[in-house]
Symmetry: C2
Subunit: 356 residues, 2 copies
Amino acid sequence: MASIEDVARATGVSTATVSRALRGLSSVAEPTRVRVQDAAMELGYVPSAAAVSLASGRTRAIGLITPHVAKWFFSVAIETIEAILRTYGYDVLLIIMPPGQRASPGPMAGVPPWRPQLETELLRKRVDATIVLSLPMVAAEVTLLQGLGQELVCIGPVVPGLPIVGIDDHAVGVQATQHLLDLGHRRLRFVGHDQQEVDWTPPRERYRGFCDALAGSVGAEVGPPIGSDLTVAEGRRCARQLLAEGDLPTGLVCCSDEVAIGVLHEMHLAGVRVPQQISVIGVDDHPHAELHDLTTIVNPVGEQAEAATRWLLAGLATPGIPPRPVDELHPTGVIQYFATELLVRGSTAAPAVDAS
Amino acid sequence: MASIEDVARATGVSTATVSRALRGLSSVAEPTRVRVQDAAMELGYVPSAAAVSLASGRTRAIGLITPHVAKWFFSVAIETIEAILRTYGYDVLLIIMPPGQRASPGPMAGVPPWRPQLETELLRKRVDATIVLSLPMVAAEVTLLQGLGQELVCIGPVVPGLPIVGIDDHAVGVQATQHLLDLGHRRLRFVGHDQQEVDWTPPRERYRGFCDALAGSVGAEVGPPIGSDLTVAEGRRCARQLLAEGDLPTGLVCCSDEVAIGVLHEMHLAGVRVPQQISVIGVDDHPHAELHDLTTIVNPVGEQAEAATRWLLAGLATPGIPPRPVDELHPTGVIQYFATELLVRGSTAAPAVDAS
DNA sequence: GCATGTATCCGAATCGTTACGGTCAACCGG
DNA sequence: CCGGTTGACCGTAACGATTCGGATACATGC
């Protein structure tokens, strides 16, 4: 474990020159630079990350906060982000914060248990910037992150005051619903939104889009939304509930593909034919959507992850990344909304004549 | 951003005492400790990670090397590992190394592109230890990791010379095959192993188990293994291939649940009834296995991840973790093999009489 | 010949901790 | 009364880089 001083001794120059030579700064003569580089290679010199960050104030590490890993959206985003950051020489510090761990009732309500985790342990000194993946936040948490005085970007639903990259969930709801309306459906239900839940906005916004789309259409009937979680299991539960209620709608807008897949599966078991008897549309274009021939709204995770990461790198003045346009930051904090695309597969079709 | 000196000044003691007081070391009087802690809290003092690791030589970070994130096994392992490490105050540095990036033909063949990534950039100074998730390694890579002189543990297939936690893939192959044999099947095929592939051992070992199980059974017929990737798409391709060949076997041992799900799907499309016409068994107990009513061999990811992590922490002399038993390290490097369990669902049954 | 530039390189301070050796007072038994 | 122990604390030298104000040497212009 050679240090910079060993290299300096071996080359007969000062540590300052070694430092400059190795970092490719100017004002070091070419022959000297070569000699230093050779010696460094020879000795197997590796700069100590600790010493570098202590002296320079930069850590070359980025915090990545996510509520999950074992879910499609998050895992894809993580892979994308890591790949880009590594390209630019940044390490990724992974911080997993399951939403369940955050809701603390009692005297600490509103004071998130993040504080000791984030502020004390991590962000202040270990990372240069932070990417937050789509997690529900309360006001106190937003304030905390804002007050950190560090570069930060969120991917996911809009958080007032924080820079955001994401999709327009309301538009997604409209888009999915409009597809079914265009096909001629008039009796629709929304699956995957619990009206009790207020913190987690995507289902709420998509449901709003659903309602707004229906409001613009004559003769459309709409029942209350059902479901709570965006999981396959919950989709199955919802489907069973609908089947038990009898009088199936002709179209189902599902808040996510996983919910839709659960629904499809249960419909299949019950002998309800899709799309003949009921049309189902999801959101995400989850890898399994194709397997189930599910019509969906494509959620471009990779693009979002990449845009957010590059925006962050721009803020860090990374060589090779163009600086941020001054006017890019929208007052709401939205950096970029990605357009979502309708991907028609076999789970949606015009309703049967006798069913409409 | 208060430093330790600010706290020392505020309390009227030396920085040495502050350091000891805050870390709860002995030999600091109780009243002094309290005064220091109060002052630190007051000033919002947070130790600088860089300074700590420079002075102490420890980083309180663990490198986590994985080939994927967006796959079940890996994402679950990552979540488990992160949770445990965080409990003990360690941060996780996530390093993703897709296997494709490693195979470099030409003059660098055998010298993995890890070197600059791992040795130079990361391991030497940024982390205290490393966990390597199930990735195929060539000899040069093993040597590199061994030579690093750091704590390290692998999860997955056995790598000669490296400490390993995993399952016995050969036993898994036997177990799955034996289940079908016990049901009375005699015409079996193995899906999900490409005999060309040598680096990636789990499929090979499972296939060996398959063969060995069959060898012990009279009258068993066996065709060559098919398939290459352990993906749903590849499962579908294999199923189509089998269907095209005609003369279906009565039982299929799939190397993973994802492959099995692809197979099930394609069989369904082709009108082949499972398990009446063909039995299918997978490996993993992937979350979607239940949805498809797939019989499988449960792969206890969480347990493996936890065991490996705790073993690592023990090597790091972590308070709260019992030290390693001296005799625990088997000469082959295997720390712990986890027993796998057969989980019978609806995709396997005795073969139809006319089909056997 | 002398002041000025320019291109290199050096020394030493600095970053914020930890860790080692030592100081100092109080206390103890003999 | 005194050498020796012990408990509480302090001073300060690392740790391994970066950084900045200067040196040094040599060429240049007048």
